[in-house]
């Protein structure tokens, strides 16, 4: 029972990080109807940025986080302006392929700058160990939980109370109405890319603190897709719930089934089984909008 609870708790913390990454994906999708396959590579860049700022430059955590966010803002703006803006209104395959191409370019840049090596900065984040009964919560999980919860709350407030946040929600509802009342759609697109690259980078630093930075961080993006499919692609609440469910399921399944299967590595394919099952039985996820199509 302790083993199970332990898996659930660490899975919950992991799930919050997944949720954070998935939110970045959902925001872009809602605002500009673009599916951002490169979300996982934002995480990758985040993980390596964390290494650069925390280890190479040995900055304190708040300065490292600030610099990483600043870099993410620039990255998001550049990506939106150079690649996505010319493709507004193009068929879905074009936007998907352009984000895939972006993903490979980001992967290539990470290889070029950091050499595609494993970079550990385990233990550099402050250590707080919490013990509840027999379950110990590792400090990385705890920090991940706190930072991702804080980010989610900040985003919620942003969408509820700021002007640009409200404009983004309006754009998600109806682009033409928004343009007719004088909101610049291009600004909304740019901000949505900035937000998702920032949350991706934050997620990357958190995951990097747990397992170190390496090229496999990009695969988290694929898990984020499973999360958004489970939660419903256009629901931020769904992304959070989906992230937590997937994080826990994955941890529990891997904990119990990995010793039984010869090759192991169930945690890697698990999201895809979830994906296929969701797609077959409930294609719009738990909280997604069911689209009614007309000719």
């Amino acid at each position: 029972m302790t083993f199970f609870l332990q898996l659930v708790v660490t899975g919950f913390a992991l799930g919050m990080i997944y949720a954070l990454i998935a939110i970045g994906f959902v925001i872009i999708l809602k605002c500009s109807e673009a599916f951002n396959i490169a979300q996982g590579h934002f995480v990758l860049i985040g993980g390596y940025l964390g290494y650069t700022f925390l280890v190479t430059l040995s900055l304190p955590i708040w300065a490292a986080l600030g610099l990483a966010i600043a870099t993410a803002v620039v990255m998001g703006l550049l990506i939106e302006r150079l690649t996505l803006r010319p493709l507004v209104g193009q068929p879905i395959l074009a936007t998907i392929m352009v984000t895939i191409a972006l993903a490979t370019i980001l992967g290539g840049l990470a290889t070029l700058i950091w050499g595609a090596e494993y970079k550990a900065y385990h233990g550099l984040l402050p250590t707080i160990t919490l013990k509840v009964g027999a379950i110990s919560i590792p400090s990385e999980s705890l920090i991940g939980l706190i930072v991702s919860t804080a980010t989610v709350v900040i985003l919620m407030l942003f969408f509820r109370y700021t002007k640009i946040g409200l404009a983004m929600r309006a754009t998600a509802e109806d682009l033409q109405v928004v343009q007719s009342v004088g909101i610049k759609a291009t600004t909304v697109y740019a901000v949505s890319w900035v937000i998702s690259s920032v949350v991706g980078v934050i997620g990357g630093i958190l995951l990097g603190g747990v397992s170190g930075a390496n090229m496999e961080l990009a695969e988290v993006g694929l898990k984020a897709f499973a999360v958004v499919l489970l939660g419903g692609v256009n629901s931020i609440g769904g992304a959070i719930v989906g992230g937590i469910i997937l994080g826990m399921l994955e941890n529990v399944a891997a904990g119990y089934l990995d010793p039984l299967l010869p090759g192991g590595g169930l945690a890697k394919v698990f999201p895809f089984f979830v994906m296929i099952i969701v797609l077959i039985f409930r294609p719009y996820g738990l909280f997604g909008l069911v689209r009614i199509e007309r000719i």
């Binding site: 599916f35 395959l93 394919v269 294609p283 007309r294």
Partner: protein, 349 residues
Amino acid sequence: MGSRFGTFHESYAQDMAVFRTRGDWGVLFAFLVFLSVCPLFFSDRVLTIMTMTGIAVISVHGLNILTGYCGQISMGHAGFMAVGGYTSAILCAKLGWPFWAALPCGALAAGIAGLIFGLPSLKIKGFYLIMATIAAQFIIIWTIIQLRSTTGGTDGLSVPRPAIGSIVLSSKTNYFYLVMAFTCLATLLAKNIVRTRAGRAFIAIRDNDLAAEVMGISLWSYKLQAFFIGCVYAGVAGSLLVHYFAFASTDQFPFMDSVWYLGMLIVGGMGNTTGAIFGAVALKLLDELVTMVGPILSAAVAPQAAASLALISHGLIIIIFLIFEPRGLHHRWEMIKAYFRLWPFSHEE
């Protein structure tokens, strides 16, 4: 459209023919002669590149029918290739079947895998279907690794060289002829499949699936047909790949290959048989360029520069084509031909 001035078609058959004029037949003949004399003039290295390009062309033809014509985007094409490759590898290596019997079985197995993973396409499309096919890719590779006793898991599987009668196709030249024969046959079939009733149904489904259904096209039947045909092509390509290396390994079918096949389709021009060939050849040539330039760059800048150059150049080429030439090389080629045909006028009529 496309023929020289003064070409008149007097019957329906003439109008629909793939090769309409003597000139077309001449070009075809010259090309076949060129292919058959290639081994006399080119080194083994060039032949290898051409063989790999031929295999890619076969695979991209399948993806073109599925994605370019039927509009069902698949990002798990390398996974379906793996099914075909492993099936024929296991039949040859473990059961001692001849290559000629194993290849169709591999193709069929890939087609059936395509049918299974194509089932979600009846309910979902666009991004959701992409996710389902990505899932297919990873699940297939994971399953292959799990079935260690039959597939050899991560160690891979040695495959005997294919043979016709007593001639073992072990040299690069022999295999080059084999792959080119398959490529030509696959191209001919692909060109003709899309001109049949099924091909027209695919196009209708791509352009508007609801409208197609209202017109009486069975989405259930035709979407699955597209998946089956596309994956049979993938199976043939996978099988040829595995037999070429005489070794089957999951590393031969990485996820990024699935992405590059779509990239080839975009670079070449989607929904066009010639486009599929253009795209496959162009990206394979880019690959070669990267392999040549990479080491120089690595020596000059940093050891990892070669690997990153490959990724960055592929990504950039796809972005550039999507933004500046979304209809692909095929469209550009048609424009160039039209320019010379019409010169000194700028357009017809």
